[in-house]
């Protein structure tokens, strides 16, 4: 049974698959996928998660709103959040970090970078 659970919120099925593929290389980590921010919140309400990885640009609810919601959530307010996005501008990074994200990675991603950051945030 997995020791850690990660929620991946990403509207692109390709990116979701790629991130999940990368995370599958971390032992004791299971992944739950969500299509957008609202789906992410639903999945969060159904269980306990040790880390959340989210995109920013998504339909229905974007990643930044999701970060705000998670930081005000009683159960998951302290969960580490990693942003993976195409937005590479410094102000986007600062905004995400100010809202409560713990890590900010820009696309295109490299699996070792994602794995290393997730391990760091989970203190593995």
């Amino acid at each position: 049974m997995a020791e850690y659970t990660c929620l991946v919120v990403e509207d692109s099925p390709m990116m979701r698959q790629l991130i999940t593929f990368a995370l599958s290389r971390i032992k004791n980590l299971s992944v739950v996928e969500a299509d957008d921010g609202v789906d992410g919140l639903k999945k969060l309400a159904q269980g306990r998660f040790d880390i959340v990885i989210t995109d920013i640009n998504m339909p229905i609810m974007d990643g930044l709103k999701l970060v705000k919601r998670i930081r005000s959530d009683a159960i998951h307010k302290d969960v580490p959040i990693m942003i993976i996005t195409t937005e590479g501008a410094e102000e986007d990074r600062q905004r995400a970090l100010q809202l409560g994200a713990n890590s900010y990675i820009t696309k295109p991603i490299q699996a070792p970078q994602v794995i290393s950051k997730v391990k760091e945030l989970l203190k593995m």
């Binding site: 390709m14 990116m15 698959q17 990368a22």
Partner: protein, 280 residues
């Protein structure tokens, strides 16, 4: 009296003789005593010398022993130096091997990463049979995998004379809308005609409408169209190894995906498509 003395001179001589004898004996004993004293002094001096020599000898023996110890230590140091050298050599070998493993691990990691990208891209590209689905997958591949910020997809259109290429899809490059590219003209036309990828250097300044990369989509020996990248995301400074692999995949797989989806949408769905196989 003188005569008497002459007559009895014997006693006088005797007296003289006795005195001489006593003097001689006295001298003899004195000299004997002196000689004995000298001898004793000399013996004492010799004793001291012997004592000094013994002491010196003992010291020399100690020195000699310590010299042996030093020699032993030097031999040990030499052996330890040899051992240290051997250990250093082994450590260097182990270090080299370790570095070699790390290098190989990094290469394997990069290859695994590239394969994951290619697997996901290929999987997604063939996971849909809707033309808009194929274009959406191409969008995602170009933007999220390659890091393209603006790009367009040109498809081949047979003309009366030379074939042309017309844009059917554009992402953040509206200037291509309505344009037509002549076959074998410009970077796009040449790429289509030669079926050779063109990949420029992003660090070199160029006009906005100048392609940065052209990837011809080929099915069999026919060029179906060209994927044209005009700009990269802010954080994407250059094309890397995986991008070239993705371009190869795009060149080969996107054409079949586009044609397949186009044909599928015309046939009337899965049932009609499967009927085609029943005729075989």
């Amino acid at each position: 009296m003188t005569e008497d003395n002459k007559q009895d001179g014997k006693p006088e001589d005797l007296l003289n003789l006795t005195a001489k004898r006593e003097e001689f004996l006295d001298n003899f004993f004195k000299r004997g005593a002196h000689f004995t004293a000298e001898l004793l002094g000399e013996i004492d001096s010799l004793r001291k010398k012997v004592s000094n020599l013994s002491e010196e000898n003992a010291n020399l023996q100690i020195h000699l022993a310590s010299d042996d110890a030093i020699k032993d230590l030097l031999v040990k140091i030499e052996k330890l130096e040899e051992d240290k050298h051997k250990l250093r050599t082994r450590m260097k070998d182990a270090d080299d091997e370790n570095r070699n493993y790390i290098d190989r691990y990094t290469v394997v990691e990069a290859e695994l990463d590239a394969m994951a990208n290619l697997y996901v891209a290929s999987f997604q590209l063939h996971s849909t049979l809707a033309p808009e689905g194929v274009l959406s997958v191409l969008d995602q591949m170009l933007m999220q995998f390659v890091g393209a910020a603006s790009f367009a997809i040109f498809l081949r259109q047979p003309g009366d004379g030379e074939d042309q290429l017309i844009p059917v899809h554009a992402f953040h490059c509206n200037n291509v809308q309505g344009t037509t590219v002549l076959w074998n003209e410009g970077l796009i036309g040449e790429s289509a005609a030669t079926q050779i990828n063109y990949v420029g250097d992003p660090s070199i300044r160029r006009e906005d409408d100048q392609p940065l990369a052209c990837i011809p989509m080929v099915l069999g020996n026919e060029t179906v169209g060209v994927i044209v990248i005009y700009g990269l995301l802010e954080q994407k400074e250059k094309f890397v190894e995986i991008d070239f692999e993705l371009f190869k995949l795009l060149a080969l797989h996107s054409a079949s995906a586009i044609i397949g989806a186009g044909l599928f949408s015309q046939t009337g769905g899965i049932a009609a498509s499967l009927n085609e196989y029943k005729r075989l």
